[in-house]
Symmetry: C2
Subunit: 202 residues, 2 copies
């Protein structure tokens, strides 16, 4: 047997590495199942050292959820495409694939965000708002007008509702696809935002 | 001072009366704030007697939430109107008014349903499904076809997402109306379901 020599790492990159491991473990586990003990065992380091990096269990969970959501924002990031609907379909497709690959973790994030935990709710709400805001930030006023999506407070309100629809539909589709392929699902979700926008008063 | 003589009531109507009081107290309080102690104080009876009717705190909370949701289903019930969109607007208007009048309780129900509590989630999911199913049950196939809402599993999936949109939008509108009147909100929500339906693959 050979052992890999331990590299001396800076505290920041060590914490970073542990956080990445936490997020990987989180993909197939609920938040409750991600304990300091489990992470210590997987990382092969002492619990004491982990507490040094993450303070307490709550701080550790917030760091893992925060990082998982950063990844979600990253994979659904704006793409270089001419057409607004094409950009939205690609981002939505990446979102569907993320939820599929990280299903347990994602359900757990939503539960944590919907519970009384204010910090988790803020992390999640800020992420959702960022996802939605990007639609407007990455589009020209002409593009937005062409699909009937002017940038008004009422429109952003409906878009926040649309995000709740997307979340609910994708999770339910994961459990039972109702005969919809991934691409049909993505196309329907992308079009539905324009359908909602067109329901608004002039 | 005169005292009203206590009427001897059957256990069922007594429990019923206590449950109604619980729901009234719940309208302006979170679930955590509705304790057996508070109910005992308000009803002027002993805690022991309340435990006799409701078992434990969890059972009591489930009974109160169950009853609050029955009321929600009742007030948003089908109405006698020719036109599907008119019926939906009236039901949605009643829903908006219910959420406005019972805001604290409603937020608390949603939190309880979104948390790890399986019973609460089932109560709430069943209620939402019942609300949605009524759209199809109270409409003729011709009516549904005229707004592009055929009764398919995929359509019901999207309608479930629309319910999540309605919930999110109405709660956010309550906090900040973004310049939308109640009637504009209701009209937009009603039309948005058809907009979503029209986004679906043929």
């Amino acid at each position: 047997m050979t052992t890999t020599p331990r590299l001396r790492m800076s505290p920041d990159s060590r914490r970073e590495q542990l956080l990445e491991l936490g997020v990987r473990l989180f993909a197939t586990r609920t938040l409750e199942e991600i304990s300091i003990d489990l992470l210590a065992e997987e990382a092969g380091i002492s619990r004491g050292l982990l507490y040094h990096y993450f303070g307490n269990k709550q701080d550790f969970h917030e760091a893992v959820v925060g990082r998982a959501i950063e990844k979600l924002i990253e994979v659904t990031g704006p793409v270089e495409e001419e057409d607004l609907m094409t950009r939205m379909s690609i981002s939505l497709g990446n979102y569907v694939d993320y939820v599929t690959a990280n299903h347990t973790a994602y359900v757990s994030i939503i539960r944590a965000a919907s519970s009384g935990n204010v910090t988790m709710r803020e992390i999640y709400d800020n992420a959702l708002n960022a996802l939605i805001d990007r639609i407007w930030e990455s589009s020209t006023p002409e593009e937005l007008a062409s699909v009937g999506m002017p940038d008004t407070p009422a429109m952003r309100l409906m878009a926040r509702g649309w995000a709740a629809l997307v979340e609910k539909v994708v999770l339910a589709w994961f459990d039972d696809d109702r005969g919809l392929s991934r691409d049909e699902l993505v196309g329907t979700l992308a079009l539905s935002l324009a359908g909602i926008a067109n329901s608004m008063p002039e």
